[in-house]
């Protein structure tokens, strides 16, 4: 429950952060009115969504129209469950595990759940019986399936380096440093920065973010698959998207950026809280890159997207996989 | 603890449902999904037997089944698309040119 609350707030403030940053990038101020620096803006948005009229257009296929956003948001949030945000905190005697469940195939579950997330988008696009939405849904599902492959393959490299599916083990394998000053992160290790690059691209595509936001391209299809949605249902899609972003960011930081490892100092309580801080820092850094890219890059054409995914990313990831396998085999 | 027979019965029910769907469905895609359902029932029995005999090879077979199912889905759906393109229908009862 706590985790859910934390996640929702995180989502809300990611939205705020995005608006702020993009605003500054475009020489605007972004939200300023509500609260200091508009810090209460997310809250206001939430309230607005809640009280808006939830209108359902005719000709929609009701059951799926209603189910789609829920599917989207549910899958988006469940994937957080297996993500550890740090080691256990020990305050005095009580021990708080900072992870909801630690199954030793956590990563696989994340992948599975995110892959299920497609349904929300696709069904939304299809059920709300309009050409924009349908095109958006089609694009979304096609694009997600296509990029899921290279995403998974890019992760396999890391998995081979630290032979485990358990996120905790993966993170623990990244503690320490090379030669004392370079942190022993996977991104610096065994040529995994290529994998990281692939992961980044695929993640953008998975979360339908610029430059791969074809499904919801405002300028072509009005808003893609959630054209017909309003109020809370729209909010759900919104939350699902940002939650996915956060999940992806968390996975990236866990797998490539050394998880919660970082310099520890100060009193024990601080020492026990610092890993969480480092972890959240990485996540937000990653999100910042998201926003940054959004602010700078234009959108792809659809065929370019597909060509990029199938003809560049996939071979690249396979090559990376082979090289990593060779490295592991030689080292073993 | 659950008697293995339950798992097997479950898989049997799934399989039977698949076959029935194959028999009564008229939409090619639905029929195709019925096939997938049958495969799933078989997979369950595989895993259950693997658990009974403590032999992982059962699970390996499940993987093979999945891979083959994936390939089959790719080809089959492509075929369905081609059929739809030429015949403008998905109703299996209307795709019966191949007869005497």
């Amino acid at each position: 429950m706590l985790a859910l609350f934390v996640l929702l707030t995180a989502v809300a403030y990611t939205v705020w952060l995005e608006r702020k940053v993009v605003g500054h990038m475009q020489n605007r101020w972004g939200p300023t009115r509500v609260g200091p620096f508009g810090l209460l803006q997310p809250l206001a948005d939430g309230v607005k969504f809640l009280f808006k009229e939830d209108l359902t257009p005719p000709h929609v296929y009701k059951p799926l129209y209603i189910a789609a956003p829920m599917i989207a948001v549910v899958f988006a949030l469940t994937s957080i469950a297996v993500i550890p945000i740090g080691n256990t905190i020990t305050i005095g005697s009580l021990v708080i595990p900072l992870q909801i469940t630690d199954v030793n195939i956590g990563l696989l579950i994340i992948l599975g759940v995110t892959s299920l997330g497609v349904y929300g988008v696709a069904l939304a696009g299809w059920s709300s019986n309009s050409k924009y939405s349908l095109l958006g849904g089609l694009r979304a599902s096609a694009q997600m399936i296509s990029y899921e492959i290279s995403l998974g393959l890019s992760l396999v490299g890391v998995l081979m380096l630290t032979g485990s599916f358990s996120l905790r083990d993966i993170v623990d394998a990244q503690s320490g440093t090379f030669w004392g000053f370079i942190p022993r992160w996977n991104i610096f290790y065994g040529g995994q920065f290529i994998a990281f690059f692939i992961y980044l691209m695929s993640a953008y595509a998975e979360t339908n973010r610029i430059p791969f936001d074809l499904p919801e391209a405002e300028t072509e299809l009005v808003a893609g698959y959630h054209t017909e949605y309003s109020a809370m249902k729209f909010a759900m899609f919104f939350m699902a998207e940002y939650a996915n972003m956060i999940t992806v960011a968390a996975v990236a930081s866990l797998l490539f950026l050394g998880g919660w490892h970082g310099p520890l100092f100060g009193p024990p309580l601080l020492q026990s809280l610092l890993p969480i801080f480092w972890f959240v820092l990485r996540i937000f850094g990653f999100l910042f890159v998201y926003i940054w890219v959004r602010g700078t890059l234009p959108r792809f054409r659809y065929d370019q997207l597909m060509a990029f995914g199938w003809k560049f990313l996939l071979p690249l990831s396979i090559a990376n996989l082979v090289v990593t396998a060779l490295v592991v085999a030689l080292r073993a | 603890m659950v008697p293995i027979a339950y798992y097997l019965i479950l898989s049997g029910i799934l399989f039977a449902c698949g076959v029935t769907g194959f028999l009564i469905k008229r939409n090619i895609i639905s029929i195709f999904m019925s096939i997938e359902l049958m495969l799933n029932g078989v997979n369950l029995s595989f895993v259950a037997f693997a658990a009974q005999w403590h032999a992982l090879s059962g699970q390996i077979f499940v993987f093979f089944v999945m891979v083959v199912a994936a390939a089959e889905a790719a080809v089959g759906l492509a075929i369905i698309i081609a059929v739809y393109r030429t015949r403008e229908t998905l109703n299996i009862d209307q795709v019966d040119l191949l007869k005497l």
Binding site: I105, L108, L111, G112, V113, L116, Y119, W126, G137, L138, S141, A142, I145, F165 | M1, V2, P3, I4, A5, Y6, Y7, L8, I9, G12, A16, C17, V19, T20, L23, I24, K25, R26, I29, S30, M33, E36, L37, N40, L44, V47, A51, Q52, L56, Q59, F63, F64, M66, V68, A70, A71, A74, V75, L77, A78, I81, A82, Y84, R85, L90, D93
Partner: protein, 172 residues
């Protein structure tokens, strides 16, 4: 005990999904019910301890194959299936035949396997061991299957590649 309860719960979900697949007349509903079936099957796998199978079930089946189905349904915009008078053979022979067959199979299974109890996580199919098996004992089938998949991909591309159906080609 919990094991039994969970099993019954998701088993019921499975059967419900399967039956729903049959009764639903719209392909997309059938597809979604099939997704439900697969998801609950994944849980059953987890109960049996086959985590990796469960994960792959979710990722490959529910996450890829069924998405593909949904995609095709959306692409072809398949509507309600109309009730054409099908073949009497299917109803006269097929249904009774399959009923008899299933009943007999069930009877024999119960009769043969007896009440062999399975514990939760009876057989931990750890990814490591499975991979080991896959690449040692089952290397040849593995390679053959990979070739099969390659051929399937090419076949799908060839079949679906058509000027007016680019997405069909781009799949998988």
């Amino acid at each position: 005990m919990t094991h039994l309860i969970v099993f019954l719960l998701f088993g019921a979900l499975c059967v419900a999904g399967a039956v729903n697949l049959l009764v639903q007349r719209h392909p997309i509903n059938s597809a979604l019910s099939l997704v439900v079936v697969m998801g609950s099957l994944a849980v059953e796998y987890l109960l049996l301890g086959a985590e990796f199978v469960a994960a792959v079930q979710v990722i490959v089946y529910a996450g890829a194959i069924m998405v593909l189905f949904v995609f095709v349904i959306m692409l072809l915009n398949a509507g309600e299936e109309e009730h054409t008078k099908g073949s009497r053979v299917a109803l006269l022979f097929g249904i009774p035949g399959i009923l008899v067959a299933s009943v007999l199979i069930g009877w024999v299974l119960i009769e043969r396997t007896g009440s062999h109890l399975l514990w939760a996580g009876a057989l931990p199919g750890a990814p490591r061991t499975i991979g080991w098996l896959l690449f040692h004992n089952f290397l040849l089938p593995f390679e053959v299957t990979s070739i099969l998949v390659l051929i399937a991909i090419m076949g799908a591309v060839v079949l679906a590649s058509h000027p007016d159906a680019d997405q069909g080609k781009k799949e998988r």
